[in-house]
Symmetry: C2
DNA sequence: TCCACTGTACCGATCGTTTGGTATACTGTC
DNA sequence: GACAGTATACCAAACGATCGGTACAGTGGA
């Protein structure tokens, strides 16, 4: 089995337990692989596992979210498509954000940089849509940041309050809110 | 020394390293207490330490934020006071949120419930201000949730992007945004 | 025969926790 | 004031368990 096939299960583990909490025992159990096999696929150990997960997350985001933002269509429609994908990504507000969880805990600079780059790319993709919609570049940047703030905040609050309805409501109104005149 | 005097240092550790990452060795070093002494003050071990930290956080929030929301004055002024305190709480966007970090990782139900209650109280305090400002109860609830979403999202995004300016900008505009007509 | 892959057994280090104990200060009794 | 008793605060050392990681001998398909 190629090592890519284990990434989704690794992602789920890291998302649930965080970096320190996702022990090799849990990883071994979840993947069905012994430690030796894990180190065959990921010679760099746990660090390489989490790096692979982050790399996969970034490409998933690119293919499933950012590409939709860069596609053709009306700005509002594109933002709506993004929200739809984001909604599945966070299971409608029931699952926490992998990036948010992996940047806490034992802070590795490499991990932080990787997550930062992913988030920055996301902001830029939204900002591009807004510039295309006629907004000034500075305003577009601010609104794009606001959009990501809303998404990340909604995930955290919904998950903490055990109330996915909050996430649903926010995601539904997000496109109009971002595009609305000040 | 009373055990309360160690809470701030414990908070800082848990905020930086998370539950699993804040080992007893680090705690021992940071507090200057031997491991056995830590168990003298916190017989329940690490769980009691983090519970004490969460308890302290809740009371800090009550005394420094929620009390300002319940005080006299114009709604916008009270929300502004909240933002000022929140700004110091998160060091202007340079520090992550303790609650957000402690609810990830090895998930304890007790911890989750404690954090949930704290966040819910915060939402309710804001909603009360908005109701007092004349908003319908349902709308007030939504806007209060939006306010907390904005705060939590801004902390996460600012911290991840290493860009406190984002946090500053969002916090400055928050009172007007929340009170603005739809 | 080669090679990707895996199971077993092991390593040193560190985890959270406990034991057994010391030093100090504050009691009440004589 | 002297003295036994008690409570508080602290520590060094060690506990069993588990951590992340490694060595090595297979094993099965090409």
């Amino acid at each position: 089995m190629p090592k890519e096939s284990y990434i989704p299960r690794l992602s789920a583990l890291f998302r649930q337990y965080g970096y320190d909490g996702a022990t090799l025992s849990k990883i071994s159990e979840a993947t069905g692989l012994g430690k030796a096999s894990l180190y065959h696929h990921f010679p760099g150990g746990k660090d390489e596992m989490v790096e692979s997960v982050l790399c996969y997350s970034a490409s998933w985001l690119q293919e499933n979210v950012l590409s939709l933002l860069a596609a053709e269509g009306a700005p509002e429609e594109r933002l709506q498509n993004m929200c739809d994908r984001v909604n599945e990504l966070y299971a409608g507000g029931a699952e926490p954000c992998l990036l948010a969880i992996l940047q806490s805990g034992t802070g590795s600079d490499l991990r932080h940089a990787q997550i930062q780059a992913t988030l920055a790319a996301w902001v830029e993709a939204i900002a591009a849509v807004l510039r295309e919609a006629g907004w000034d570049a500075a305003i577009a940047q601010q609104r794009a940041e606001d959009a990501l703030i809303t998404i990340q905040g909604a995930v955290m609050v919904s998950f903490t309050l055990d109330n996915p309805a909050v996430f649903q409501r926010v995601m539904q109104s997000l496109p109009q809110v971002i595009l609305k005149q000040p």
